[in-house]
């Protein structure tokens, strides 16, 4: 009796829920699961061979030359994550604080800081490549103009500077995003709290570190997690500025480039290795999924309800 009463409602719910679930399964769950499955097969070009258990995983983690490249790319991702944490999120927080305190020109700078974010990554990559051009680039030309010619470098050609140059370009491009998120968080801080603080201290440092920073914790959770995912999925900018091979000699290689090159081959150096490529994709996915969940859970704990 009860069930027949609810049939109409259930049907209605089903009609609303099934299409999105079907859509998600078809275009999200199915591709991910099939990529998982691909990683367990041997591949000849794009033709599937035998089921080989964990052989592909073993190759990318423990066998020459893949293992070396995996470690190299992975260590670069870690470096990128920490460097951007400082250059992008750290600077973003300071910028947000300055904008929030309404220093001179705050309105103009609020737009200016966010402007690069709307540019396409490819444009930013090419722009910075021109800035860093060894002969005519704005960076080297200005250094020479200031009599600091000895500091002029072939920035993107040396392993000592190439990765850092791309990181700086990325920070320039994206710094507006954490700034905006932090600024929104700061603007949500109730004015009573701030008035109370003003009675206690005049120190900006105390205000920033003891009041503002803990109260923007939800914003920090968002930007930290997104930066983590972004840093380990990094692809476009190193691709445009360093090329698919992570030039020079792998100094700008990151997991994204390495996965693409391995799975699909690079026209100028190697054929496709679809099995190891799929195994890499699975490992990258698992790593990001697990670590970003942990980060989110840990960071959520320090958020305070206002």
């Amino acid at each position: 009796m009860l069930s027949s009463k609810l049939t109409g409602r259930n049907l209605w719910i089903a009609a609303l829920v099934v299409p999105p679930i079907a859509f998600m399964s078809l275009f999200l769950v199915y591709p991910i699961l099939s990529a998982f499955a691909y990683a367990f097969y041997e591949w000849k070009g794009l033709a599937r061979g035998e089921f080989i258990w964990f052989e592909n995983f073993h190759r990318v983690l423990f066998e020459f030359p893949f293992s070396e490249r995996t470690i190299n790319a992975f260590s670069h991702n870690i470096f990128v994550f920490f460097a951007l944490m400082v250059l992008q999120n750290g600077v973003g927080f300071l910028l947000a604080y300055c904008l929030w305190r309404e220093l001179w020109g705050a309105r103009f700078h609020r737009v200016a800081v966010f402007l690069p974010v709307v540019l396409s990554t490819v444009i930013v990559g090419l722009l910075w490549k021109l800035f860093l051009h060894p002969l005519f680039g704005a960076v080297n030309v200005s250094l020479r103009g200031m009599g600091l010619g000895f500091l002029a470098q072939p920035w993107l050609g040396q392993d000592s500077t190439a990765l850092m140059a791309i990181i700086v370009a990325n920070a320039w491009h994206m710094v507006g995003f954490p700034t905006l998120v932090f600024l929104a968080g700061m603007q949500r801080i109730p004015s009573e709290i701030l008035d109370a603080v003003r009675m206690e201290t005049e120190s900006e440092w105390v205000k920033m570190s003891k009041i503002v920073w803990p109260l923007v914790a939800p914003s920090a959770t968002v930007v930290f997690t997104l930066l983590f995912v972004g840093a380990f999925n990094w692809f476009e900018l190193p691709y445009v500025m360093g090329g698919i091979d992570g030039s020079p000699h792998g100094a700008t290689d990151v997991l994204g480039l390495y996965f693409y090159r391995t799975a699909f081959g690079s026209m100028s150096a190697s054929a496709e290795n679809f099995g190891p490529g799929s195994a890499l994709a699975v490992l990258i996915f698992l790593f990001i999924a697990v670590v970003s969940s942990v980060i989110t859970i840990r960071l959520r704990k320090r958020e305070i309800q206002l």
Binding site: P134, L135, G157, M267, A269
Partner: protein
Amino acid sequence: MKNILLGATLTLATLLGQSASFAADLTFWTWRQEDKAEYEKFFKDFAKTNPGISIKFEAFEATSYNTVLSTALAGGKGPDLMMTRTYGGIESLAGAGYLMPLDKTKVPAVAGFSPAALASETMRSDKVLYAVPAASQTMLVVYNKEIFDKNGITEPKDWAEFIAACEKLKAAGLMPFANGTSTAWQNETIVSALTSSIMGKGFYEDLMAGKTDFNDPRFVTALGKLKEISAYFPDGFIGLDYASAQQLFTSGMAAMFAGGSFEIANFAKQNKDLKLGVFAAPGLKAEDEKLVGLFYDSGFAANAKTAQPEAAVKFLNYAASKEFGQVFANNLNNISAVPGVTFDSPLLAKVADLNKHSIAYMTLVNFRYGEPTGSNLIQAGVQKLLNGQATPAEVGKSMTDGLSAWYAPFKKK
């Protein structure tokens, strides 16, 4: 008797009638979007002699072409005809069984092609040809004739003359070379373009025979000379990318560009006033044979599962004909792989002439079949060498050791 004749005539007439009404729509895929107009002309010419067969041209972005193509073929949605890459690039398609195997009965004209051309489209495991070789590329030095004339420089006959010419250009305030090496594969092309004559035919033969490896003094000397001449590359060339290097040459700021013959068409398009010349970089002594690096970069293949195999084979026969080779060379400014083709452009004629004394562009031709590839190793090695982080001997050793992971003759005994 009359009846038989009549019968024969009738049969013949029906056959002819059939072939006249033979209609097929084929698709052709390539990565060379820029050649669309020319290919459509070729297809029209082909349709004149093969009425009823129309071919539709479709192009895809060059760097992802093999991925797009193999994905389409795997899904059964591939084209009937396609341009294929060579060496390892064709093995991934042929090995998966996507391509129609070709032989002398299907395409008789391939018998006349050079063994090196055929090897570029042959799978090593079954020794079967899978595509009609289309074009070769040559690694050499392209130079700006006006700059050479103005500074009284002629094509160098030995290494000392080569260096002297660079010195002269530098003293005149010009960049001797336009090359930059921040784009990884440019490190591989300059080795072949500048040092093939120093390595010499003997080295390549010994290498192929398994008698030597990249620790060979001939190879190490070649890399040493590369390092020496890189002093005449632009300031900060290790941070200079491929496109910027090309611009330095086309703008007339630099006198030479060490690279592939595929640059010629592009240079001419960028700056029509440029007067170009080509030469093979000399060996150490004037009597050393001057060699260029040679490889084949493309071919024409048919889908193994095409619905119109006869029509596809007809096109492949056309692609292997001298008639096609000639229009291909004249219209696309490429060195056709078809034997006996002549060249309208004196520059291409010169390249074809240089090809008579060549060794393979070996890291691409022979060492791209396993991981790490010879290309991976030489690109990284030369970047280190030019940046002062490795010696020529260390680069040779890293290549030999790296390749020993899969290249049987290098495996430690």
